[in-house]
Symmetry: C3
Subunit: 140 residues, 3 copies
């Protein structure tokens, strides 16, 4: 277990723009408040979504596309630097009209409505390649 103490530079609530991309909007929020590191939770609804599932053996992401309206029942993630750019690592639980839930790593999704709470950290966090998992993780 690797950890770092963080200090909060500011906290924000945001309403995501209808028609924009969910993850891009979160990265735009981080940019707007000049945060290179942040943690967020969110809820709302999307008009479509692309989830990625990481194949732990192959070390690659497999995308799944949902071309349908979905509630965003849960969204948890963080912002840090990946190759020098702000990246919002975003996991979400989405649901269909009958309540059925699908979930995973949210690469993209067209916002219908979204409400976000973000804590911007003073300390930047930067991802680097991790050999064990073949993922970009924080070398805390």
């Amino acid at each position: 277990m690797h950890f770092r103490s963080v200090e909060t530079a500011g906290e924000y609530v945001a309403r995501l723009e209808t028609g924009a991309d969910w993850r891009t909007e979160i990265e735009a929020l981080a940019a707007a408040v000049d945060a290179d590191a942040a943690w967020f939770t969110a809820l709302g609804a999307v008009q479509d979504a692309e989830l990625w599932f990481y194949d732990q053996d192959e070390g690659s992401y497999d995308p799944i596309t949902f071309d349908e309206e979905l509630e965003v029942a849960s969204c948890v993630g963080n912002v840090s630097l990946l190759d020098g750019e702000r990246f919002a690592h975003t996991h979400a639980v989405l649901s269909r009209p009958d309540g059925e839930a699908v979930a995973g790593h949210l690469n993209a999704g067209t916002v219908f409505a979204g409400e976000v709470y973000m804590r911007a950290f003073e300390t930047p966090l930067e991802r680097a390649h991790d050999e064990t998992t073949d993922l970009d993780l924080w070398p805390l």
Copy 2:
């Protein structure tokens, strides 16, 4: 993307009352700490639940009722003013004994046990009708 900086007036942990309504309890917590705006995450279990799914084309909510015991695997939401009253916008992921998950906008649910973390904000947030989505959103 529309956002506002918020300042926290206080943070709280709560245990929801067995037999009470999940969302009403969260609104009661906001009232008890005199918060007109707040963000929360929660977990627990309910004895039943009513989820709402928003039909983005029709602009109306369709309810689904679950008359069964469910774990509250995730709950994310916020409190703000709607028509002058505190409203807890609450999304949840619920699960059955075999692990199957259902999720969405939680309108109601009878608490079996519930644990909540709430941040109360100094700045009030107020919802207003949004023409694009036909929802009550924050005009941040």
Copy 3:
């Protein structure tokens, strides 16, 4: 509804160790920062998982084991004292390669990758047996 005001002693981000147990890692984080009470949210992936479902009538937990790779789409929980030891009460939503979600009380899971945000509270929280639910809850 029972609640307590809490003060944050520190906030932390952590990367969980690949191959370690998810819940044990969170308890190790709380121990490392000397926190007897905390709230956390997290995301990541596990190599397997054991969820527990509470039978509200029987007053007992039924375990379900998943011997497969799963994304941790959402994880919400808290740390408090149970019989004098730190216990991370952990709920999670997990997902399969096709997006299917399973969820519940996470007893155990082998970390593939995990990112956690934890707020450590100054005030300790201690669980005690609750007669109504037959659970160990906070007598706030």
